[in-house]
Each structure stands twice: as C-alpha cells, then as structure tokens.
C-alpha cells in the first residue's frame, strides 16, 4: 500500500494499492499545513479502511513549492518512512501535474513561487498514461518571461496534490525512473546575505 503525501499547495494524502486510488483527502487552505497534515493522513487511511501497518512505501511531493508548507508534508513522510522502515519516493510536483496533460504535445506546467514569481518546467508528451519527458529544468521565472522562454507552448497552472504524486510514483516505478532523491526542491537559496554592522550615533 502506497501512502502519498503532498503539501505544495494545500495539505493532502492519498492511499493507493497497485496504482488504484482507494482514498483521497485534501484541505485546500494554503496555510495551516501543520494543523492539517495529521488529520488528512489519518482520514485517508480511515476512508481506505487500511491500517497504518500496511504501508509499504511513502511518496512525498518534494516541490518546488512555497517552502514552509512544503516542508511539513515532507517531514511527515520522511519521519513515517524512517520509523516504518519503508522506502520513500520523492516526486517533483510539476512532474506529477504534467501527467494530467499527457495528451498534449508540448506544454509548460507552472505553479506559484510566491514573490510574484512562478516555478515552471516544460514537457513533451510521449503518450497517454506515460510520464511526459521534461524538456527543461525546473526554474523560477517572472510571469512575463514564460512565453518568451517557452514560445508557443500552452501553459497549465494546476496545483499538485497527493493524488498526482501517487499516480506519478507508480508510473515512475513502471518506467524505471529513479525517485530516490527525497530532498526539497527550493530552486532559490535563502534570500539572506551577511550585513555590515549598524552605527548608534549619527
């Protein structure tokens, strides 16, 4: 049984058995991840009528996404996997969403990066139910730059959730894509640089 967890937008959890979705619980609030994460997971397990003892793998959305919320789902998944001694699959949020558009030819998936910017990645479809091939690395853009950088491509802004994360994990397993990187995708370093001292007088 695969438990998928994602907090790139709201807080969500999904239970899968062999790529079949048994339950999906989501709270869309873009804040409140710490309050909600326990409840959505417990509820997802309850609705699927599956015990926590049956978890054999955990898939986590690793962003890119607003950092504070993103880390909650990741911390939850990583801690669960550590104590259950099961593998964790790290799923790039934009890639997970790209599967929804596998019927397109070439396209771009974007998501909110705060600071009035967007995370974006471009893809080329291979076929239905197959993971689209990424044709760029995930990056941060000003909204105006998107059409310049990806001329002619349709842009999709669909939030990621545990449902997409879980489906992507199964597809990746089928296609032999390595999901062992479970680090968060920040795409920016902390926006802080050392400062000079401040004077008191004058």
């Amino acid at each position: 049984m695969l438990l998928a967890i994602d907090t790139s937008a709201g807080s969500s959890a999904a239970v899968f058995v062999d790529d079949e979705l048994l339950s999906f619980v989501s709270i869309e609030d873009p804040f409140g991840h710490a309050e909600n994460i326990g409840n959505v997971i417990a509820q997802a397990l309850g609705e699927a009528k599956v015990s926590h003892t049956k978890i054999s793998a955990i898939a986590i959305g690793r962003g890119p996404a607003p950092y504070t919320g993103l880390r909650v789902g990741m911390a939850t998944g990583l801690a669960m996997a550590e104590t259950l001694k099961v593998p964790t699959f790290g799923v790039v949020a934009l890639d997970a969403v790209s599967m929804l558009y596998a019927n397109q030819k070439e396209f771009v998936v974007v998501s909110d990066a705060k600071r009035r910017q967007l995370f974006a990645r471009s893809y080329r479809s291979v076929g239905p139910e197959v993971i689209p091939t990424p044709t760029s690395a995930p990056e941060v853009f000003e909204p105006a730059e998107i059409s310049e950088r990806f001329p002619g491509l349709e842009v999709f802004q669909t939030p990621c959730s545990a449902k997409e994360v879980g489906h992507y994990a199964f597809a990746a397993m089928r296609e032999g894509i390595d999901l062992s990187d479970t680090g968060a995708l920040y795409l920016r370093s902390p926006d802080v640089s050392p400062s000079a001292g401040k004077r008191v007088t004058g």
């Binding site: 710490a34 994460i37 326990g38 409840n39 950092y67 909650v72 911390a75 801690a79 104590t83 008191v200």
Partner: protein, 495 residues
C-alpha cells in the same frame, strides 16, 4: 461521605489518635509523624468520613532514587472490610508513578494475611523475607515489590537551530541526539529561520535514527511521542510537528504537544530523577530571556518577567558584532574578556531604576546596554583613540550577569523560594555560572544547573515534559495542534 485528602501538620492530632489505636506499642511518636507529614519527599493521605479521620497512608520517595516506599497504612478498626485500604494504596501508587518511581517497596507482617492479599492483588510480589523482624513475637516480615513501567517517550525539538530527538523512560534519560545548524548560521550573524528550517528537514531522519540507536530501542517500544510546538520559529517548529504527527500515525502512538520553555525547566528532572519544586527558573538563550516562578510544572508556571527588547544571547551577538568579533557572540565575548576588567566601565543595567520596579520589576532590557557599548566604541573610534576590547567585553558581560542574577535572586527572596534553576544556551557562560554560584551560596538559595547538553535546546527535555504529562494522567493532544511562535508559559500542553 468518604473522601481522601493530602495530610498536613494541622491533621496531626487526629492522625496520632488513629496511630496509637492501630499500632499501640509500635506507634510512631508525634515528632516522628510530624516530620513525616512535613517532609518534601513524602505523600500522606487521610481518609475522611465527614469530619472524622478513619484511615491514613503514606509513601516516601527520595529524589533520584527511582523508588518509593509505602511507609504506613492504617484503617480504623470499625471501618475495615470496605476496601478503604485498597483505595488509599491506589492513590499512593498513582503518586509514586508520578514522581518517577520504577518500583514501590513495602514490608508487611507475615501474620497479616488480609494485607498480604491486598498487596498481591495490586501486583506486589514477595522478594524477600526478614525472619523475626517484628518484635515481640518473632514475626517475619515479607518484603514486597511492585514494578512500575514508566512511559517511554520520544521527544522532538525544532524550535530554533538545533534538531533534537530525545528518549526518556519516566524521569530517566535514555537518549539525546542532536544536530545543530549553528555553523551554517555563522556567516549570517545569527539564526535565519529559512536556513534553520531547511536544516531541520535534512536532519530529521538521521537524528531519529541516532536517538533510537542510542537508546537501543525500536519505535514499537516507545509509548508516546512529544513535540515542542512553541514558542520559537514557526517554520522550524512546523518541521518537528510534521515529523511527530507522522511517527504517531505510522506507529499508532499518542502525541503530546508541549511548551519548549517549560520543558527547559523540566530538563532538571533528567539530571536528578525528580522535579524539585517550587523553584525560580531563569532561562537565557539567543531567543529567550525569561524569569519564571514554577510551583507545579504542569499546573502552575508563572512568567514573572522577560526581556522587553533583546534576549541576552542576542545582546552578546550584537555587542560581539560591534567589537568586530564573529558569531556566536557568547564564546567570542568570553574569549575577548580574558584579562579584561569587569569594573572598568559601568554599563547600564536595564530596568533596575526605582521607576522601573512597578511595571518592570522582573523584566529585562538589554537594548540600552547594547547602545551604551556601541556608543563607547564609536566615540573612541571616531576620535581615533585606542580602547581595550578586553575591558569592554568584560564590563559588558558583567552588566548582563549582574542584572540577570540580581533579578533572579530578588524573585527568590520575594516569593520565598530558595531554589534557582538555570536553563538555555547562555548558561554556557562561565562567568554567569560562577557568579550564580557565589550569589546563591550567599543568599542560601539552592542552585541547579543541568549538564550543558540538557541546558541548550534538546529533544530529551521535550520527551521528559511529555512523560510528566503522561505520568500525571493527562490526555494526549490529538492531531489538530499547530505551531505557535509566541506560546505562553501558562500553556504547558496544546491541543
């Protein structure tokens, strides 16, 4: 109407009547009984039928012994056979558990089958026989023991820049694993919430692993999870909360959300095996400077005062910067202060003027001190004059230590609490420790400083506070609590 209540000196007369009736020539003297009732290490209960004392029982536990003894139990002869002995015993066992005892011992006369039956039914087993112990009559004494399983709690700390996972069993420390991101913060001159939070996420798995390995336990052997949900950096705290909730759900364990500052006070439990109360607590770190009066760790914690501007540790960092020293300021100031004269410059002690005593008696302010040091340095630099960094460092440090301890001891005096416990990273400062010892000795105040690993932020103190809550019978926190960056000390547990 039957009720039980804690006995005190005012009940002595009634107790002695029953004592003499029950034990005749073996009865304790009035002085002995008074001493027992008065001792801070005992718990005596009286059983009342309206105003009449019809029974009493007492237990004792020496702090740090992890063991309790049933001292005595007596029921009036005309009130036996109603299960009152069982009731008193059960309350004594609850108390024994709550003070961290891992075993309860008692002695019983071999010719008292009713009592022996009662104790066996409560789980006591005979472990020894003392022949001809009771005289006259050559009656043997059965030594009996009840083992108490204290809760094994795993605690998670992530309120600032240290990721801590600790494991305790009741009041016993089993593991204390830590990962610090202090090195990453050095170049920023202080803690950056985003840097800290990223480090917590990376550290959570290895720190969990380390703690369980150190305690030589599997997660199944853990009874409950505790996590600090504040006060502190919200983004950082949320990583710990996510991890804790995940572990709780994955392994079906109850979870307790606890207050980080109160946990600092409780850290002393792991040092001594018991909480010694009441106490004044002075918590000094980069992020906190708080003075607390603690009468009951779970029910009665009062914030007497705190900083109204910079925390003490922060003041060290800022002054270090003014003096051109790197971060973290504490150790750097200490180094610079070697051979410095602490009385060279009289820097201001914030909020110690008569006009401050009404509104800010136990509050702290280091902003004026920091400004005074900066002015001093700037004045000399602007005039191209030399000044002694050592003297400035030593004098600044002296001002901080002076105001911290003056107020802490004033509190001990005002509230008649002759006990001071220190906590927080600034406790690493040797001058603070040495001056605390000197002033406490002089004032007749007992000073408690846990070992350094328990003074700085750590997971073991979080686990310990969780254990205290469980041992007191508190319900778990449920799954809906969040991070509270300004959580008040009066809120020990969140739901």
């Amino acid at each position: 109407m039957i009720s039980t209540s804690r006995l005190s000196a005012t009940d002595l007369a009634q107790v002695m009547v029953l004592e003499n009736q029950t034990f005749s020539e073996h009865a304790w003297s009035e002085d002995s009984m008074a001493a027992e009732l008065d001792s801070p290490n005992t718990h005596y209960l009286g059983l009342w039928k309206s105003q009449r004392l019809i029974g009493y029982a007492g237990a004792a536990s020496a702090p740090g012994s992890f063991s309790a003894d049933i001292q005595t139990i007596a029921i009036a002869s005309d009130e036996r056979g109603h299960g009152y002995g069982r009731r008193l015993m059960q309350e004594l066992l609850i108390w024994s558990k709550s003070v961290g005892a891992e075993q309860v011992m008692l002695e019983v006369r071999a010719d008292n089958p009713a009592a022996i039956k009662l104790y066996r039914s409560l789980g006591f087993e005979q472990i020894d026989l003392r022949k001809r112990y009771y005289q006259p009559g050559d009656i043997d004494a059965l030594v009996m023991r009840l083992e108490i399983q204290q809760p094994v709690v795993l605690g998670i700390e992530s309120t600032c820049d240290e990721t801590g996972v600790g494991i305790v069993k009741g009041n016993r420390l089993l593991a204390n694993a830590l990962h610090s991101s202090m090195d990453e913060h050095a170049k920023y001159g202080g803690v950056v919430p985003e840097v800290a939070a990223r480090a917590h996420l990376e550290a959570i798995q290895p720190t969990l692993r380390k703690a369980l390995a150190e305690a030589n336990l599997t997660i199944d052997q853990v009874d409950a999870i505790a996590v600090a949900n504040g006060p502190g950096l919200a983004g950082a705290v949320m990583v710990g909360i996510g991890a804790a909730k995940g572990i709780a759900i994955a392994n079906d364990k109850p979870i307790y959300a606890v207050n980080h500052l109160v946990a600092h006070v409780g850290a002393d439990v792991l040092e001594r095996g018991a909480v010694q109360l009441p106490t004044i607590a002075l918590l000094v770190s980069g992020g906190h400077t708080s003075l607390l009066l603690v009468r009951d760790l779970l029910n009665d914690v009062v914030l007497l005062g705190e900083t109204i501007d910079d925390a003490a540790g922060e003041a060290f960092d800022k002054v270090a910067r003014v003096l051109g020293l790197p971060y973290p300021g504490g150790p750097q100031i200490d180094k610079a202060a070697i051979n410095g004269n602490p009385n060279a410059i009289r820097f201001p002690r914030g909020l110690t003027l008569p006009k401050d005593m009404e509104k800010h008696r136990y509050d702290f302010s280091f902003s004026g001190l920091k400004t005074a040091v900066a002015r001093h340095v700037e004045k000399h630099q602007d005039a191209n004059e030399e000044f002694s960094v050592a003297d400035v460092a030593a004098s600044f440090r002296e001002a901080v230590v002076d105001v911290l301890l003056t107020k802490a001891l004033a509190a001990a005096e005002e509230f008649q609490v002759p006990r001071l416990v220190l906590g927080g990273g600034v406790v690493a400062n040797a001058r603070l420790r040495e001056e605390a010892k000197r002033r406490c000795d002089k004032a007749g105040v007992e000073l408690r400083i846990p070992r350094f690993a328990l003074c700085t932020d750590n997971g073991a103190m979080i686990a310990a506070l969780g254990a205290q809550l469980i041992m007191a019978g508190r319900e778990p926190s449920g799954m809906s609590f969040g991070a509270d960056s300004t959580l008040e000390v009066t809120q020990v547990q969140s739901f």
